[in-house]
């Protein structure tokens, strides 16, 4: 999938520092390496490419292997958009035909660049790695599972941390899981299990469509972590959350998962777990303190009036 040059570690990362974390996603972003990158995108930016075959002495059109296609638009909106292709890929790739030995180079994983760096300290990559090593996905590492399987280096962008529309962030994040779990071709690259049907295996879930649109797969399928924003400890399916109360209650776990980031800006309008109300509504988790108190007050008054009435009946002429 992605092969990187060992030269990466000493690469200048000209546009790397600061910009990647702080800048907002925008289609107007112009990479300082745009022209350089076009050398690669010319062939890898779409499903077909054209080159001059010197042996044949003519132009040849060919299909690009789909795993080698990188979508320009997605790349320039991704976290790595300010990169030059050769920041990660060997400079040898700038020649064509590409030298065959480059294909054998080892790819880096996230921690190779993001680990032990103060600039990324707030993302807690070391803890994320520890979580990943305890997750069900780590057991597939020998089969070829890596960070890249979920966080495509050419298209991944921070989702929930920057979300203005949480439903869109949920869709984006869930599609990461579905890329393998709803695509048997990709799934069987890593697993010998029979084809699974997500809709059938979640048939027990009431309001399935609403749930799929309103929460991420990882809400139920990961171990809650108090420090890392997005838990990476994917649990075996037998340990997935199936108790409705975990979310549908006043101390809803959604506040420490899906709404963990936004919950710091808790609404103060009398609603419990009010931040959820900005984008969604969860029965049992969202209660209004004032309505609760008002209803208890009315109930108390009614019961007192009935009590007094009973007392007067017992002491008066009407029994």
């Amino acid at each position: 999938m992605v092969f990187m040059s060992s030269a990466l570690l000493s690469a200048p990362f000209t546009a790397f520092a600061g910009e990647m974390i702080d800048s907002q996603d925008t289609v107007a972003f112009v990479s300082p390496f745009y022209e350089d990158n076009e050398r690669c995108f010319k062939c890898h930016g779409q499903g077909s490419f054209e080159y001059t075959n010197e042996n044949l002495g003519r132009q040849v059109k060919a299909l690009m292997f789909s795993e080698r296609v990188v979508d320009r638009d997605k790349f320039y909106q991704s976290n790595h958009r300010s990169f030059s292709c050769t920041d990660c890929h060997a400079a040898g790739y700038t020649t064509f035909p590409h030298p065959g030995e480059l294909r054998m180079e080892q790819s880096f994983n996230c921690i190779d660049c993001h680990g032990g760096d103060e600039m990324f300290a707030k993302f807690l990559f070391e803890e994320i790695e520890a979580e990943y090593m305890g997750s069900i996905h780590f057991k597939l590492e020998e089969e070829g599972f890596t960070c890249w399987k979920c966080h495509g280096p050419h298209d991944y962008k921070i989702s929930i941390r920057d979300a203005t529309n949480i439903k869109e962030a949920i869709l984006y994040d869930n599609n990461i899981c579905l890329r393998c779990h709803a695509n048997f071709d990709r799934f069987q690259l890593l697993s010998d299990r029979e084809e699974i049907n997500i809709l059938q295996s979640h048939e027990w879930l009431p309001g399935q469509e609403s749930h799929f649109k309103s929460v991420r797969c990882i809400e139920c399928h990961t171990q809650i972590n108090d420090t890392v924003l997005v838990s990476h400890l994917i649990k075996p399916k037998e340990e997935a959350v199936q108790r409705c109360n975990e979310c549908h209650s006043q101390n809803s776990m959604l506040m420490s998962t899906l709404y963990k980031f936004q919950s710091k800006e808790q609404r103060e309008d009398g609603f419990f777990n009010g931040i959820i109300l900005n984008q969604s509504y969860v029965i049992g988790a969202n209660r209004n303190e004032y309505l609760n108190n008002l209803s208890l007050g009315i109930l108390a008054v009614i019961l007192i009036v009935i009590g007094v009435h009973i007392f007067l009946r017992m002491t008066g002429k009407h029994k």
Partner: protein, 205 residues
């Protein structure tokens, strides 16, 4: 006197059972907790039984409305526009004072007047205002994709749910008062027996 035909009694008992189930399961959903199962039945079970009871209640409500349209039972729910307020006041005064002084009920039960004005008014509000609202908002909760997403900047689901639980609360309050006032017959148990047998025991007996 024979006051409650069989269909009214069957409708009433089904209505009562379903509403009790709905109140218990509704409270269970609203006040569900991860650890405390006191007074609540657990969210998953509550959702299932709330949905089943609500669908049955909706059909039962359609039976009630149809029965009132196609039989003469509907006449008992017609409000007397002009004299309504004085009648309500008169009945309220009886409940608050008159009955303790040994006065006769101002609106005794007859074949043409099954309900006193306060009863009639509260029944009409409950059956023709609160019930339609709770059924419509409940259907909105059952099929959330049909509810408008935002209404003046607020989630349509929140407004639907607040309307639903408010109506649920008011119907619960109605039920408490209804059960209590049913002890105000000739004897505390007379009116309960009436709704089972169909025969009303006169206050004069």
């Amino acid at each position: 006197m024979y006051l409650y035909p069989i269909w009214v009694r069957l409708w009433h008992v089904l209505n009562a059972v379903l509403i009790i189930i709905l109140i218990i399961t509704g409270l269970s959903m609203q006040y569900t907790s991860k650890t405390d199962y006191l007074l609540v039945v657990g969210f998953a079970r509550a959702v299932k039984w709330h949905n089943i009871a609500a669908i049955l209640l909706t059909f039962n409500y359609v039976t009630f409305v149809a029965g009132n349209i196609f039989t003469d039972n509907g006449k008992f729910y017609k409000l007397n526009g002009k004299g309504l307020l004085p009648d309500l006041r008169k009945q309220f005064r009886y409940y608050a004072l008159g009955m303790f002084r040994g006065e006769k009920p101002p609106f005794p039960v007859t074949l043409d007047r099954k309900f006193n004005p306060l009863q009639k008014f509260s029944y009409v509000l409950t059956m023709y205002v609160a019930f339609p609202l709770i059924i419509i908002s409940g259907l909105g909760m059952l099929f959330p994709e049909t509810v408008i997403n935002r209404f003046f900047g607020i989630s349509g689901l929140i407004l639907t749910d607040i309307l639903h639980i408010t109506m649920g609360f008011l119907i619960s309050i109605f039920m408490i008062i209804h059960i209590y006032t049913c002890t105000l017959g000739a004897r505390p148990t007379s009116l309960f027996k009436s709704i089972i047998s169909g025969y009303h025991e006169s206050d004069d007996n």
